[in-house]
Symmetry: C2
């Protein structure tokens, strides 16, 4: 898919068919995430590929907006790695750019996905860290359920000229 | 350009030719930014399109890593709008996703760009807010200089299997 088309037509997808996701497509998604820019190229991220049904099914009891995981074939947990952060305060931006790349790559590859926010909510971070046995220096940042969509999402043009200012406010 | 190619080959570009950027391309970049996902679709962002030479040239005195603005034909200042934030703590993620979309769209359109970090550094936020006459509730988040690149950037594969964990750490 052309880049601008992918950017303009990507939408949150929360309903998935039961088809599994091929390994090579999952690798494309991870490569896309790791191709994101980061502060001073610090790449302060880690990724957990979640495909075990038992793990996926436990997440909705932890996270109030994660019910779709019971249908998803996989999820990617994007984490910040504080030991790799060289520019203090920027790991959140690194992980956000990686998450956006993931979403665009998923849409491009015919998959549906959605950015489920974790950080900065402590009540989501702590149980997810425990469930995935993450070290103390690794912070669960966002959770991206992935699957083949049950239906095509409607595109919607979000361009809004009122948000654009020329040279000064 | 195909989406994955754009994601995999995008690089920070800091040297630009003096050619101006057509309005329709600038609008594509802004539409791409505003197509980003945001927490609960809150779209807590604002954009300043900077093309005045005098403004661009004043930024390097404010920001230590913004010397390339003296060569850039334009820059986009991505800002968080606290009055539009509905999910507390997520506006940074909204603006990061918008910035990443901007960078990918610029690369796709043959432009070079780079994510110059502003937030959370107070010593960058305050003088930029003053220069662009932003309201107190609008936070300069990132600055993206844009121009036609002087040379093609080298692609580099950042995929790193050591950052991938399967099901649990």
């Amino acid at each position: 898919m052309e880049t601008l088309k992918a950017i303009f037509t990507r939408r949150s997808v929360r309903r998935y068919r039961p088809d599994p996701i091929p390994d090579e497509i999952m690798q494309n998604l991870l490569r896309a995430a790791m191709s994101a820019p980061s502060a001073g190229n610090e790449q302060a991220w880690q990724f957990v590929v979640v495909t075990q049904r038992a793990l996926l099914d436990r997440i909705p009891a932890i996270h109030p907006h994660a019910q779709m995981l019971t249908e998803a074939q996989a999820a990617l947990l994007v984490c910040g790695d504080l030991q790799r952060e060289e520019h203090r305060g920027y790991w959140v931006q690194d992980c956000s750019a990686a998450t956006e790349n993931l979403l665009l790559a998923a849409h491009d590859q015919g998959l549906g996905a959605v950015w489920v926010g974790v950080y900065p909510r402590e009540e989501r971070i702590l149980p997810l860290r425990e469930l995935f046995r993450l070290p103390e220096t690794v912070i669960p940042f966002s959770l991206v359920p992935i699957g083949y969509p049950t239906e095509a999402a409607m595109a919607e043009d979000r361009f809004n000229l009122e948000r654009v200012h020329f040279n000064q406010w």
